[in-house]
């Protein structure tokens, strides 16, 4: 059993679902991710913060085996994404920012295609499609062409799509961007319930700090390829702002780290 006190000052009993050691990615002379040490526990909701171009997406791509690290080691669900990308991709869902769909197919056809690519039998796939369309509130619009969908509907369909394969780990890149306040709330509730009811580990990358503060157990802050802070929000607040009570916002902590870096 791994205890992660050295990894961010939190003791979570459980298996490490992501473990990165000295993970580095260079593009030419530019270092996108520098010597990343990170451990994510099963069932956790982790918020991954940082300014644009800090290396967040590159990190996600390395976890998924979509890009090869220059050096360092990473294991996702016990598999090496470089050597066994199949095993990782079968169990990991990735919702990129501004997810794309085949606009000339309807929601159901889009989901069915993804299910087939995951080698889910049609019978099971239909059940899951019905279930998740219901969960994200798109049952009524399921037979409309996705090209006619609004931004919020596309985002919800994206969530349904990554859940079709029933992943154990979910990477969400800006899942609430472009949603109206009501849609944002419902999306956050859904994400939260995934973690609690389905025991899906969530790895969330976002700029919307108040939302991250609402749903994440722990956060990591990445600036210029360095992971400058990691831990539960209260702990970072204690360390950086010297406050104990709830009278802080994640934004204050984030800005403090950002100015120092």
């Amino acid at each position: 059993m791994l205890c992660s006190s050295g990894w961010g000052g939190v003791n979570v009993e459980g298996k490490a679902i992501i473990q990165a050691e000295g993970l580095t990615k260079r593009y030419g002379t530019q270092t996108a991710v520098n010597n990343l040490q990170l451990q994510i526990q099963e069932g956790e909701v982790f918020g991954f913060l940082g300014p644009n171009g800090a290396g967040k997406t590159t990190t996600l791509l390395m976890f998924l085996g979509l890009t090869e690290p220059t050096s360092g080691k990473v294991s996702v669900l016990g598999f090496d994404p470089v050597r066994e990308p199949f095993k990782v991709k079968e169990k990991v869902g990735y919702l990129p920012e501004n997810v794309g769909f085949y606009d000339d197919m309807d929601a159901r056809q889009n989901l069915r295609y993804i299910a087939r690519l995951n080698r889910i039998s049609d019978e099971i796939a239909e059940k899951r499609i019905d279930y998740w369309l219901e969960m994200v509130g798109l049952s009524g619009e399921a037979s409309k062409k996705v090209g006619t969908y609004s931004k919020g509907m596309r985002q919800r369909l994206g969530i349904a799509e990554v859940l079709i394969k029933e992943p154990k780990l979910l990477f969400l890149d800006e899942p609430t961007i472009g949603l109206d306040p009501d849609g944002t709330n419902r999306m956050l509730d859904l994400i939260h319930s995934l973690s609690r009811e389905k025991n899906i580990t969530l790895f969330l990358s976002s700029h919307l700090l108040d939302q991250v503060q609402r749903i994440c157990d722990r956060v990591g802050i990445m600036i210029n390829g360095h992971l400058v802070a990691i831990g539960p929000i209260e702990e970072l607040a204690k360390k950086k702002l010297g406050v104990n009570q709830q009278d802080y916002t994640l934004e204050e902590i984030y800005m403090k780290y950002f100015k120092e870096a």
């Binding site: 590159t58 079968e90 990129p96 794309g100 690519l117």
Partner: protein
């Protein structure tokens, strides 16, 4: 891969493009048969027992052009039409990054796209040839023999390879260029260059290297042969030349070589003048084997380059 293949094929069938292609097939079929059919009837009047008339349906130029010429000219457009947006369309709609994060091999994406295009091309070719044959049988009243059928089958295979080469070119440019318009224009430019300018360039280069000067005693024979040779070598860089040489020889059994009259060896010329019989199928195949191998090679090379570039592309740019 089968899933992607089926989806791509379905996309092709559902697209307006396929409707256009089908319309083209019917149109070309009708025009060519009626044009050629009437011409053949004229030509055959008063001839005793001509051989292999059936193939004339495809090679006779009638009033304007023959079917073989038509495919040589516009077949590449069909290939480009089917492939120019295959990869970059998915980049623009951001579905490619989603596809590669599913548990599939990355190469199955490009393989499936290529194969579905080849399938559509095969369907188109077979349909057109059957259409022309069917209408031709009614119009001219001759039935194809076994050998003629075989020649047609080989012809379809060569055409399939030839058009697949252009499909490969257009998929390659769809991998390289992000915008669908750029990729369409780039593949068209390549098509125009290799189909038309190489031929022009060949005669220019041949003129420069081995100018044929007219002397008092006529033309210098050695120089003329050198001139022809250079021109042939350069123009065989054009897939269209390779294709038309190969297919006319396969479909016209009276042709015994792909070379022009000047470059024929003495024995070939001798046999031309002495034996007016059609060549057996196997002999025709022997003559065009180098052409067929060249077409296969450029098609594979083109797809190979396309495959390599696609596999090595950094995922961020997808």
């Amino acid at each position: 891969m089968l899933t992607i293949f089926r989806k791509e094929l379905g996309d092709h069938f559902n697209s307006i493009r396929f409707l256009l292609i089908s319309a083209l097939i019917v149109m070309v079929g009708v025009i060519i048969t009626s044009m050629v059919g009437m011409a053949i009837q004229e030509e055959l009047k008063g001839m005793a027992k001509p051989t292999l008339i059936f193939l004339l349906l495809f090679t006779s130029t009638g009033k304007l052009f023959s079917f073989v010429q038509f495919i040589g000219f516009f077949g590449p457009l069909l290939g480009i039409f089917l492939g120019f947006d295959s990869i970059n369309r998915e980049k623009v709609s951001r579905t490619l990054s989603k596809l590669v994060s599913q548990p599939i091999f990355r190469d199955s994406i490009i393989n499936a796209k290529f194969l579905s295009g080849v399938t559509i091309i095969a369907i188109t070719l077979v349909a057109t040839v059957l259409l022309i044959s069917g209408m031709g049988i009614r119009l001219v009243g001759v039935v194809p023999g076994v050998e003629e059928v075989w020649r047609l089958v080989i012809y379809i295979i060569i055409s399939l390879l030839y058009i697949s080469f252009w499909l490969g070119i257009s998929i390659l440019s769809s991998v390289i260029f992000r915008s669908t318009a750029t990729s369409a224009l780039a593949s068209l430019a390549i098509w125009i260059f290799f189909s038309f300018f190489v031929g022009l360039g060949a005669s220019v280069v041949a003129d420069a290297v081995a100018p044929v000067s007219k002397t008092a005693s006529g033309v210098d024979a050695d120089m003329l042969i050198r001139h022809e040779r250079i021109q042939r070598v350069i123009s065989s860089f054009s897939p269209m030349v390779l294709y038309s040489d190969a297919t006319t020889t396969i479909l016209d059994p009276m042709r015994k070589t792909t070379r022009g009259l000047i470059l024929m060896g003495p024995l070939e010329r001798f046999s031309m003048s002495r034996f007016q019989n059609p060549l057996p199928l196997l002999e025709s195949i022997y003559i065009v084997i180098p052409h067929i191998i060249s077409i296969v090679a450029i098609t594979l090379l083109c797809f190979g380059i396309c495959y390599l570039i696609f596999m090595r592309q950094e995922i961020r740019t997808i």
